[in-house]
Protein backbone atom coordinates (compact mmCIF):
# COMPACT_ATOMS: atom_id res chain seq x y z
CA UNK A 1 0.00 0.00 0.00
CA UNK A 2 1.15 3.49 -0.81
CA UNK A 3 2.31 5.36 2.28
CA UNK A 4 2.37 9.11 2.90
CA UNK A 5 6.17 8.84 3.12
CA UNK A 6 6.32 7.43 -0.42
CA UNK A 7 4.07 10.17 -1.78
CA UNK A 8 6.29 12.71 -0.05
CA UNK A 9 9.40 11.21 -1.66
CA UNK A 10 7.72 11.28 -5.11
CA UNK A 11 7.02 14.98 -4.70
CA UNK A 12 10.47 15.80 -3.37
CA UNK A 13 12.35 13.93 -6.07
CA UNK A 14 10.69 15.80 -8.91
CA UNK A 15 10.03 19.25 -7.46
CA UNK A 16 12.34 21.63 -5.61
CA UNK A 17 10.52 22.04 -2.29
CA UNK A 18 11.37 23.93 0.86
CA UNK A 19 8.88 21.89 2.83
CA UNK A 20 6.51 18.96 2.22
CA UNK A 21 4.07 17.37 4.61
CA UNK A 22 1.88 14.44 3.57
CA UNK A 23 -0.70 12.58 5.58
CA UNK A 24 -3.03 9.89 4.28
CA UNK A 25 -4.53 6.43 4.53
CA UNK A 26 -3.21 4.80 1.34
CA UNK A 27 -6.12 6.02 -0.80
CA UNK A 28 -6.57 9.67 0.05
CA UNK A 29 -3.64 11.92 0.80
CA UNK A 30 -3.34 15.48 1.98
CA UNK A 31 -0.22 17.45 1.28
CA UNK A 32 1.17 20.84 2.21
CA UNK A 33 3.84 21.80 -0.30
CA UNK A 34 6.12 24.85 -0.13
CA UNK A 35 8.19 25.56 -3.22
CA UNK A 36 9.89 28.59 -4.78
CA UNK A 37 8.50 27.32 -8.12
CA UNK A 38 5.06 28.51 -7.02
CA UNK A 39 6.08 32.18 -7.07
CA UNK A 40 4.03 34.31 -9.48
CA UNK A 41 1.74 31.38 -10.29
CA UNK A 42 -1.98 31.17 -9.62
CA UNK A 43 -3.39 28.23 -7.67
CA UNK A 44 -4.33 26.26 -10.77
CA UNK A 45 -0.79 26.63 -12.12
CA UNK A 46 0.69 25.66 -8.74
CA UNK A 47 -1.35 22.48 -8.58
CA UNK A 48 -0.52 21.72 -12.22
CA UNK A 49 3.19 21.92 -11.32
CA UNK A 50 2.65 19.26 -8.64
CA UNK A 51 0.53 17.09 -10.94
CA UNK A 52 3.19 17.31 -13.64
CA UNK A 53 5.88 16.39 -11.11
CA UNK A 54 3.89 13.31 -10.12
CA UNK A 55 3.20 12.42 -13.74
CA UNK A 56 1.79 8.92 -14.32
CA UNK A 57 1.86 8.19 -10.61
CA UNK A 58 -1.07 10.55 -10.25
CA UNK A 59 -3.10 8.39 -12.63
CA UNK A 60 -1.89 4.95 -11.64
CA UNK A 61 -1.06 4.99 -7.94
CA UNK A 62 -2.61 7.95 -6.23
CA UNK A 63 -6.39 7.95 -6.13
CA UNK A 64 -6.85 11.30 -4.48
CA UNK A 65 -4.49 14.03 -3.40
CA UNK A 66 -5.66 17.17 -1.65
CA UNK A 67 -3.09 19.88 -1.53
CA UNK A 68 -2.27 23.31 -0.24
CA UNK A 69 0.47 24.99 -2.20
CA UNK A 70 2.45 27.85 -0.70
CA UNK A 71 5.40 29.98 -1.74
CA UNK A 72 8.25 30.26 0.80
CA UNK A 73 7.00 33.79 1.57
CA UNK A 74 3.43 32.61 2.26
CA UNK A 75 4.79 29.77 4.38
CA UNK A 76 6.90 32.19 6.45
CA UNK A 77 3.77 34.22 7.22
CA UNK A 78 1.90 31.20 8.60
Amino acid sequence: MLTPETVKSYIKESLACDHVEVVGDGQHFEAVIVSPEFRDKNRVQQHQIVYRALGDRMREEIHALSMRTLTPEQWAEQ
Binding site: R43, V44, H47, Q48, Y51, M58, R59, A64, L65, S66, M67, R68
Partner: protein, 102 residues
Protein backbone atom coordinates in the same frame (compact mmCIF):
# COMPACT_ATOMS: atom_id res chain seq x y z
CA UNK B 1 -17.33 16.81 -33.10
CA UNK B 2 -14.40 15.45 -31.14
CA UNK B 3 -14.38 15.32 -27.37
CA UNK B 4 -12.26 18.44 -26.90
CA UNK B 5 -14.72 20.41 -29.02
CA UNK B 6 -17.67 18.98 -27.09
CA UNK B 7 -16.09 20.12 -23.83
CA UNK B 8 -15.21 23.55 -25.22
CA UNK B 9 -18.83 23.96 -26.25
CA UNK B 10 -20.12 22.82 -22.84
CA UNK B 11 -17.99 25.33 -20.94
CA UNK B 12 -18.77 28.22 -23.27
CA UNK B 13 -22.51 27.55 -23.71
CA UNK B 14 -23.04 27.43 -19.93
CA UNK B 15 -21.84 30.15 -17.54
CA UNK B 16 -21.10 27.66 -14.73
CA UNK B 17 -20.17 24.04 -15.37
CA UNK B 18 -19.15 21.46 -12.80
CA UNK B 19 -17.66 18.18 -14.03
CA UNK B 20 -18.27 15.66 -11.27
CA UNK B 21 -18.64 12.01 -10.41
CA UNK B 22 -22.35 11.32 -10.06
CA UNK B 23 -25.09 13.94 -9.90
CA UNK B 24 -25.79 16.75 -7.41
CA UNK B 25 -28.48 14.59 -5.79
CA UNK B 26 -26.35 11.44 -5.80
CA UNK B 27 -22.65 12.32 -5.86
CA UNK B 28 -20.39 9.27 -6.15
CA UNK B 29 -17.28 10.75 -4.57
CA UNK B 30 -16.65 12.88 -1.49
CA UNK B 31 -14.78 15.53 -3.43
CA UNK B 32 -17.63 15.92 -5.92
CA UNK B 33 -20.14 16.09 -3.05
CA UNK B 34 -18.07 18.84 -1.42
CA UNK B 35 -17.90 20.79 -4.69
CA UNK B 36 -21.71 20.71 -5.02
CA UNK B 37 -22.14 21.90 -1.43
CA UNK B 38 -19.68 24.75 -1.90
CA UNK B 39 -21.51 25.97 -5.02
CA UNK B 40 -24.83 25.84 -3.16
CA UNK B 41 -23.32 27.76 -0.23
CA UNK B 42 -22.13 30.44 -2.64
CA UNK B 43 -25.64 30.79 -4.03
CA UNK B 44 -24.52 29.77 -7.51
CA UNK B 45 -27.58 29.05 -9.59
CA UNK B 46 -27.84 27.70 -13.11
CA UNK B 47 -24.97 25.33 -12.47
CA UNK B 48 -24.72 22.84 -15.30
CA UNK B 49 -23.28 19.56 -14.09
CA UNK B 50 -21.69 16.84 -16.19
CA UNK B 51 -21.49 13.33 -14.74
CA UNK B 52 -18.18 11.99 -16.01
CA UNK B 53 -19.07 8.48 -14.88
CA UNK B 54 -21.78 8.44 -17.55
CA UNK B 55 -19.37 9.27 -20.39
CA UNK B 56 -15.88 7.82 -20.49
CA UNK B 57 -14.78 10.05 -23.39
CA UNK B 58 -15.60 13.14 -21.36
CA UNK B 59 -14.03 11.62 -18.25
CA UNK B 60 -10.69 11.21 -20.03
CA UNK B 61 -11.06 14.26 -22.28
CA UNK B 62 -11.65 16.75 -19.47
CA UNK B 63 -8.30 15.81 -17.91
CA UNK B 64 -6.58 16.67 -21.17
CA UNK B 65 -8.64 19.80 -21.70
CA UNK B 66 -7.47 21.42 -18.47
CA UNK B 67 -4.18 19.55 -17.95
CA UNK B 68 -5.72 18.53 -14.67
CA UNK B 69 -5.87 14.85 -13.66
CA UNK B 70 -8.70 14.89 -11.15
CA UNK B 71 -12.48 15.37 -10.87
CA UNK B 72 -14.35 17.58 -9.88
CA UNK B 73 -13.48 20.52 -12.10
CA UNK B 74 -15.25 23.89 -12.06
CA UNK B 75 -15.53 26.22 -15.06
CA UNK B 76 -16.96 29.74 -14.94
CA UNK B 77 -17.50 31.66 -18.18
CA UNK B 78 -15.31 29.19 -20.03
CA UNK B 79 -12.41 29.51 -17.63
CA UNK B 80 -11.08 26.61 -15.57
CA UNK B 81 -11.27 27.73 -11.94
CA UNK B 82 -9.93 24.64 -10.19
CA UNK B 83 -10.70 21.41 -8.41
CA UNK B 84 -12.10 20.67 -4.97
CA UNK B 85 -9.15 22.07 -2.98
CA UNK B 86 -9.06 25.34 -4.86
CA UNK B 87 -12.84 25.70 -4.63
CA UNK B 88 -12.62 25.25 -0.87
CA UNK B 89 -9.78 27.76 -0.49
CA UNK B 90 -11.59 30.30 -2.66
CA UNK B 91 -14.81 29.69 -0.73
CA UNK B 92 -13.08 30.29 2.59
CA UNK B 93 -11.39 33.47 1.34
CA UNK B 94 -14.62 34.79 -0.21
CA UNK B 95 -13.18 34.82 -3.73
CA UNK B 96 -15.61 32.20 -5.00
CA UNK B 97 -18.69 34.20 -3.96
CA UNK B 98 -17.46 37.09 -6.10
CA UNK B 99 -17.52 34.91 -9.21
CA UNK B 100 -21.26 34.43 -8.79
CA UNK B 101 -22.26 37.99 -7.95
CA UNK B 102 -24.44 39.44 -10.61
Amino acid sequence: MDTQEVIRKQVTDNPVVLYMKGTPDAPMCGFSAAAVQILEACGADNVATVNVLADNDIRQGIKEFSQWPTIPQLYVNGEFIGGADIMREMYQSGELHKLFQK
